[in-house]
Amino acid sequence: MNFLSLFVLIPILMMAGLAIARDMKQIRTVAVTFSTLQLGLAIYTAIKYMAERAAGNAEEMLFQASTIWYEPLNIHYAVGVDGISIVMLLLTAIIVFAGVFASWKIEPLSKEFFLWLTLLSIGVYGFFISIDLFTMFMFYEVALIPMYLLIGVWGSGKKNYSAMKLTLMLMGGSALLMLGILGIYYHSAPEGGALTMNILEIAHNNAIPHEWQYYLFPLTFVGFGILGAMFPFHTWSPDGHASAPTAVSMLHAGVLMKLGGYGCFRVAIYLMPFAAQELSWIFLILTGVSVVYGAFSACVQTDLKYINAYSSVSHCGLVLFAILMLNNTAMTGAVMQMLSHGLMTALFFALIGMIYGRTHTRDIREMGGLMQIMPFLSVCYVIAGLASLGLPGLSGFVAEMTIFVGSFQHTDTFHRVFTIVACCSIVITAVYILRVVGKLLYGAVQDEHHRQLTDATWWERLSAVTLIICVAAIGCLPGWISNLISNSLNAIVERLS
């Protein structure tokens, strides 16, 4: 059996383990053990991948395996990874690991919570290792459904509304996606061979006729774009994130939104390079707008999670924006931004969850001076904020600069002008981040009751520190990860030219 399948198998074992666990202690033991295993597996895969590459394996996707699954439609369970998937798998494993610690005290129904969370992570892992459109789509759906229950049952605030809205909007996206995938499938063999769902085969056959690409590209791009919070289909994100429990916000903003970006790469652009070039300007405008628009919206929000959700709209907008630049540097930047945003937004949501757990409010007008009360959490928040506004030495800077420099290398003036527009977001980001830092952490204590609150516990510290270390590591030594990504992108970029 291909070892990539372990990414799906380990969570399934974890679910079995959770199912037989009897008390909180056992649940935690199972969750920690298996999430550590996943992290180990992800690191092992990354190392093995790099070793293979160093040994000169120039195949586009490594560790491929394929088993026929449904003969009549030629559906395979096919897996394989390249540098981009490796990065995404690492991200997922890190966030699942941190998420387990962030939901140490989840109440009630802790067992069920972890079960659904694990199911979600199965979907995400499966999505990233799949190279068959159908399995990819299936895992995508597996990742979406648990979200409804996780928000609806363990959420806060208008949780029913938010859960319904999030699920319906994302389902709307997957409806478009389904159409797109079927379209791709039925045009995967223009010369009358066997129809296929395998991404690599379709790409190598250069199969899809140009006139069809015009229809299928927007379908798939918007379908994935909805999950990537593309303007104007982003409104599930603020409500959904605001209501979701901590670990779910972390996984959702940190990983699930990256499914959108990853899908845009892997399906929309990779399979339909012609339409990508012809139609990219439309989406470039939309994503360019969403970068600035999200940032401006975040400036006036008062709920911490809303601020962060809008900031995610802005940052994920930048991901799609960079993907559409269709050159190697910008796309490398896009993947790095996915990674960096995933880590820091997970950190943000973890911290917000921890603060909310103590103060029982997320309204920045009702809090203040938290630096004096919970210094550890506050310092982490400042670090997350600085990462978000692009401080050199933390991951945000590297990603944004790669995107800006890459985008600006585009030969077309229109693209360069839009890059400058997107650049403006760095100032607005500074405004809303510092606004929160100033109001929430600095200044005088607003509510005297807050003085009795305690600082972070060990599991909260572990969760935050894991993420901070990753953010700083990428920020300080970006070279290897940038090379890893850009080497894998060569194949995609070559198809574009």
Binding site: F296, S297, G393, L434
Partner: protein, 637 residues
């Protein structure tokens, strides 16, 4: 000279050590550790300077620049990559000396000044972070490395201004400083993008070796009537103007005085604020190919110089006076760079003058701030009204402060005289108009500095019944004495021999006509200040009343802050952010919700058909059957 790496590595290690251990260290230990780190760093910088300036010159008489260390950090494209390295040339070595010296003085001084403050360890951690970033900025081998450290100094400045984070004014000031400079950095970033797009390099050496590349590569592309090259360089200058607090991006600097005073001395007087000057100097050969940008630089500098000098004359907070004085002095350096038109030794005199003034100014302005710190430490107030007659209580502070005032006013033989004289000479040669303008500003400088001096040390005899101001401890006075000594002798350093526009030695000689004029102007201004402020009297109030409008306007800094507040709050927040947020919630989200509502409404309308009443179903069944039967029959017939 590979050891130069440690000049950067040492403060970084200190930052990590002090930052991570934080309260686990005793404050005293943290302070001493930080100071020792900085001492070693300073020693290394001096060694570097000694070795660098004494190395043999090449055939053209130029001291060859060196790159002892350079690693690729991040590769973007085939040509574009960010390196982290160390680039040693006369100005960067000069800056190394300036930064480490002032930083060391501040480290020592803070042992006394910050004694007993909460967060002492954090303070030293931030100081180390700042020193590291600033040193990294000046030794940058490429423009993107400079941008990286540029951002880092911005953040250190933000953290240090907001050191007293429970004080709302400090929080607001730190936020303002960061956002205003960030806005300027946006210009810098875009400038870098444009520049690198055309020249295909970030490297300073490549850029300056072939300065016309951007002109030839951009092939005469223009935007709004100016060439792309001009736009790129003007935008880069915008970044510099933001950091160096040039009008109209100066508004953050006066507010930044909310930070601890030693921080003001280090960051907001001697080092970070001259980063803009340094940036222009670094890219000077490139600026030379776009004279219109140099003209812009001159104009911005001259306006700032006059504006800040006028405002400084009426401020009552001693740190604000010094802040505006800093703005004005930096503007001198900027003007000097602006008037240097090419890389010829004589027409490019302004370059040398600017760097010389940067050097001397760093020393005497740090001295002034540290002196002000000692005074604030003694009287626990920033306001002039609470001071007066302090000369008796604080003799050392008094003498050193006086030396610094004489230096900044341009009185020989103190260092400021020599550098300012070079600047005025350079400006005079280029344009008489700006020459006269800058001479007037120099006079104003002498006036407001002596106003400050007399108001602090003379004016009245303090009522000492409840609290006697006393001289600062030795940790604070030693740096003052050291810097005062430097201020006395710095003017005699053969600066032109070491730093000049094309690297060839330039022998500084005073232009006596300019020098005499400026001395006369300065002396007159000092006499005027003496007449007005030596003894407590009603003349200043009377003058203020006579020019009420002007006085109020200057006191309120010509309402620039209010304009900014209006723009940010009313326009950015009120007219952009809030409407966008509303639009998002009500229009975009409303549309999405509308889909749901329409679906719900339709289903509510048609659900009545599914009534559950069998009798109704049977009716429909029968009617339907009959209808179909009738239709079938009609059709068949």
């Amino acid at each position: 000279m590979e050891y130069t790496v440690f000049i950067l590595a040492l403060p970084l290690a200190m930052f990590l050590l002090l930052g991570l251990l934080d309260s686990k260290l005793k404050p005293r230990v943290a302070g001493i550790l930080g100071t020792m780190g900085m001492t070693v760093c300073t020693a290394l910088a001096y060694l570097t300077a000694y070795q660098f300036f004494t190395q043999p010159r090449n055939a053209e008489g130029v001291i060859p620049s060196q790159v002892p260390f350079n690693v690729e950090w991040l590769r973007f494209t085939e040509h574009l990559h960010i390196d982290l390295g160390i680039y040693l040339d006369p100005i960067s070595v000069m800056m190394l000396v300036v930064i480490t010296t002032v930083s060391l003085m501040v480290h020592i001084y803070s042992l006394g000044y910050m004694h007993g403050e909460k967060g002492f360890q954090r303070y030293y951690a931030f100081l180390s972070l700042f020193s590291m970033s600033m040193l990294g900025l000046v030794v940058a081998t490429n423009i993107f490395q400079m941008y990286i450290f540029w951002e880092l100094v911005g953040v250190s400045s933000f953290l240090l201004i907001g050191f007293y984070y429970t004080k709302p004014s400090a929080v607001a000031a730190s936020k303002k400083a960061f956002i205003v400079t960030r806005f300027a950095d946006l210009g810098f970033l875009i400038g870098i993008l444009i520049l690198s797009f055309f020249t295909k390099t970030f490297d300073f050496a490549t850029l300056t070796a072939n300065p016309t590349a951007i002109i030839s590569e951009s092939a005469g592309a223009t935007f709004l009537g100016c060439s792309v090259a001009s736009w790129a360089l003007a935008l880069i200058f915008m970044g510099g103007a933001g950091k160096s607090a040039m009008f109209p991006l100066h508004i953050w600097l006066p507010d930044a005085m909310e930070g601890p005073t030693p921080v003001s001395a280090l960051i907001h007087a001697a080092t970070m604020v001259v980063a803009g000057v340094y940036l222009v100097a670094r890219l000077f050969p490139v600026y030379c190919v776009t004279p219109e940008v140099l003209d812009l630089i001159t104009t911005v500098g001259a306006i700032t110089a006059l504006y800040a000098a006028i405002v400084a004359c009426v401020q009552t907070d001693i740190k604000r006076v010094l802040a505006f004085s800093t703005i004005s002095q930096i503007a001198f350096m900027i003007v000097a760079l602006g008037v240097a038109s090419d890389t010829n030794l004589h027409t490019g005199l302004g370059y040398m003058a600017s760097m010389f003034h940067l050097f001397t100014h760093a020393m005497f302005k740090a001295l002034l701030f540290l002196g002000a710190g000692a005074i604030i430490h003694a009287v626990h107030s920033n306001e002039m009204a609470d001071m007066g007659g302090l000369r008796k209580y604080m003799p050392i502070t008094h003498i050193t402060f006086l030396i610094a005032c004489l230096a900044i006013a341009g009185i020989p033989p103190f260092s400021g005289f020599f550098s300012k004289d070079e600047i005025l000479t350079a400006v005079m040669e280029k344009s008489t108009f700006w020459g006269v303008w800058m001479t007037v500003v120099a006079g104003l400088t002498a006036f407001y500095m002596f106003r400050l001096y007399f108001r602090i040390f003379w004016w009245k005899d303090t009522d000492c019944s409840h609290h006697t101001p006393h001289e600062a401890p030795a940790t604070m006075t030693l740096p003052l004495i050291f810097l005062a000594l430097v201020t006395c002798v710095a003017g005699f350093i053969p600066f032109g021999e070491l730093v000049s526009v094309n690297g060839e030695p330039y022998h500084i000689h005073l232009n006596w006509s300019v020098a005499t004029t400026s001395i006369i102007v300065a002396v007159c201004a000092i006499l005027l200040a003496t007449w007005l402020y030596m003894k407590e009297n009603k003349k200043p109030t009377a003058m203020a009343n006579a020019t009420r409008t002007l006085h109020t306007a200057a006191y309120r800094r010509f309402y620039i802050d209010e304009i900014y507040l209006f723009v940010t709050h009313k326009i950015i927040f009120g007219l952009i952010s809030r409407p966008i947020a509303w639009f998002d919630r009500h229009i975009i989200d409303g549309t999405m919700d509308m889909f749901a509502h329409v679906t719900q409404w339709v289903s509510a309308r048609i659900k009545g058909l599914q009534s559950g009443s069998i009798q109704a179903y049977v009716w429909i069944l029968i009617v339907g059957t009959l209808l179909i039967a009738t239709l079938t029959i009609c059709y068949c017939l």
